[in-house]
Amino acid sequence: MNKYEFIYKLDKALDGFSAAERAEIVRYYEELIQDARDSGEPENAFIDRLGSIETIIRTIKKDGTFLSNVKEKKDFQLRKVFDVTVRILGYSLFGIFAITVGSIAFSLSVTGISTVFVAVGAYLRDSVADPSTATLIMYAGGTLLGAGLFLGGIWGFKWIIKISRVIIEKSLEFADKIIKKIGERNK
């Protein structure tokens, strides 16, 4: 079983748990698998070692603190609705953010690469008729500026991809915290 299969099955098997607990348990196992992979353990072998999902759920339920929480399902539906709403809101806000930064990055790289082409092209055209030092500096400056903008744009793209996962995880964690608070108030 690979990570995605395992996490999917685990999440499905946690159906009776509250949304916050469910998210927490899934995150715990996701982190374990990532950490195992990062320290060089083969993913599939590690997941096999975790044992069956039924055993995992049974171990958690055996613990008293969980049983009481599982039994308390009064506002389960409400929490579920809230959980989904926060997730949708989080993803759409992140989508708007990513599109904005993405377009800026895109226009920077396009402007950059075209500046390079224009500068190099103009230099090639004018080089026949012995250009002055000032013009040479201008062309070289244009090329450097263009290359700089292009690299800036590419860096922007890399940056969004890098932070996207962290932002999504942080917003999910925030949602879990609120859900937990609501749960405690209702007890």
Partner: protein
Amino acid sequence: MDAQLKKGFLELLVLASLKSAASYGYKIIQDVSGIIDISESTLYPILKRLEQQEFVATYTEEYNSRLRRYYRITPAGIAKLRECRTDFEETKKIYDYILSEGGRS
């Protein structure tokens, strides 16, 4: 080992593994598994219980472009470990008695 006894020891061992520095799930298992048989699925309820008793506190930190949950020991947790010293004296007396064939030694 007796299941009840092991349960108590597991909690204390996990707590003790946090004494010098905060740690995370995967590392706690690696640190403790040399001393006692522990699995990933048993660690989760233990951490949860320690957190509820406020012996440990959690926080998340970015690692490798993802978030990792760290556990650190609280002053109450340190006090709990200190209790082990007196527990050890008492337990030792009990075991000495048990192993001495009913106290007839």
